[in-house]
Symmetry: C2
Subunit: 269 residues, 2 copies
């Protein structure tokens, strides 16, 4: 597998034709770098958002976060700063600050995530396939996300087209003939992480190409990265521990008070 | 960045000299594949555990999980199967089944994680450096882990030596001169994920080489992957939502009952 990030994209502005810019960038490299069948083009959500005009004036970044929030997952006070808010955003993604980004944008503005990064990935894929005459091409749109339990951030896939997003090996067997029961690999997230290693954060190289994963690249757009989002109902960590404790305490207090006062316990709404 | 996974390691058995086996594997490839300054060698914890004799007889896998558990984080009943247990294990890692692995091991046995994967990485690094006459060489030991909020598994670093584990860009500035405040990249985890893409799960290729990340590779062993583990006290998701809710309910009920019965509220122990 080879992963590289060409430099020279330049600043992306609202209304820019990102597919044309990325195509120019990828057409301008060394001959061996020309896009080939089975390649995956990885693009940060930041440039997708910029091209799509998701830069909004925001004197108040906190309001922008509130506007993008569907559900608060956890909050934590921070001395001298607004509280840290980990929330589920419109895309189903659980992220600090709802994925609202205030770095690498002009002062007084913040960057919202693309409206639908899977749609953005499909559009980018369609244009690049046509331009380079390719059938099998993958596109991944990335963003940077924190994790429960581990320090540091990694890039994950928030949009995808033409690439296997999750490889499900259940039903297969291991070298001892035993069933592989728990092996469902988040391929698109691993691709996003691999691309981050060559892009870097401040180097102005928001596009990467991954070559050597043709077995994951198909003819059709596929399910998209939205399919990587775990449904809240299936999520054992849908609320922060403190928030869940507080909810339990409130409900328990109400029920205990009724019982202590000799009243029949009644359902708590 | 180039990532490849040579085949031909063969089955690793307790007592095998893993560093010799990996060295033989890496010495036997094409001339261009010989290890070079700045390379990172990535090895799955599975083969490290096997070489270190962490294969234990286990008629009862559930007991092995219990033995490896330091703290239960979340559990969920599963019809027809033992409950899913997400726990913190001896290494501080929050993982399903404590990282105890029953695939790719002989029947009647399970595989425990290495006792100290950072120590394993340092030992492997020392031997490979000496054998190949290299100064700057990184070693990462990987395992596969689930995530809160996202489906599918990715490989993460549970051991590391000679490589920057976390790149802290705080203090730097973006292209607009604004401070990069939240950019702490879990480099070692991204390396682990990248390597998984070329290793595959059932292909018998537990070793990968990553070339092109020399800027992350240093002369000394460095802090190790243990430094990626978030301390429980700093973790907003130290308990599953249901477990935290139940704890809150129990405490709240006790307090509410006392107040309802006209007793002074007393601290709940």
């Amino acid at each position: 597998m080879t992963v590289w990030a060409p430099s020279g994209l330049g600043e992306v502005r609202p209304g820019d034709d990102l597919a044309a810019l990325v195509g120019d960038l990828l057409a301008g490299g060394a001959p061996g770098d020309a896009l080939a069948e089975g390649d995956v083009v990885v693009v940060t959500s930041k440039v997708v958002s910029k091209a799509e005009g998701r830069v909004v004036a925001a004197a108040d970044r906190e309001q922008a976060i509130t506007d993008e929030t569907v559900r608060v997952v956890a909050t934590r006070e921070r001395p001298g700063q607004p509280p840290l808010r980990i929330v589920e955003n419109r895309l189903g993604l659980v992220m600090a600050a709802a994925g609202v980004d205030a770095s690498n944008t002009p002062d007084g503005t913040v960057l919202l995530l693309p409206l639908d990064p899977d749609v953005s990935a499909r559009a980018l894929r369609a244009t690049l396939r046509a331009r380079f005459g390719l059938t099998r091409l993958g596109v991944v749109v990335t963003d940077t996300a924190g994790r429960a339990w581990r320090d540091g951030l990694v890039d994950v896939a928030i949009g995808a087209a033409g690439i296997v997003v999750v490889e499900d090996l259940r039903g297969g067997v291991d070298a001892h003939g035993r069933p592989l029961t728990v092996t469902v690999t988040a391929v698109a997230d691993e691709v996003a992480s691999a691309s981050e290693l060559v892009r870097g954060k401040s180097a102005g190289r928001p596009v990467a190409v991954v070559r050597g994963l043709a077995r994951y690249v198909g003819d059709d757009d596929g399910p998209g990265a939205r399919s990587l989002v775990r449904a809240s109902a299936d999520d054992l960590f849908r609320e922060g521990s403190a928030e869940a404790y507080q909810g339990g305490y409130r409900d328990g207090f109400g029920e205990g008070f009724r019982e202590g006062s000799g009243n029949e316990p009644v359902p708590v709404d």
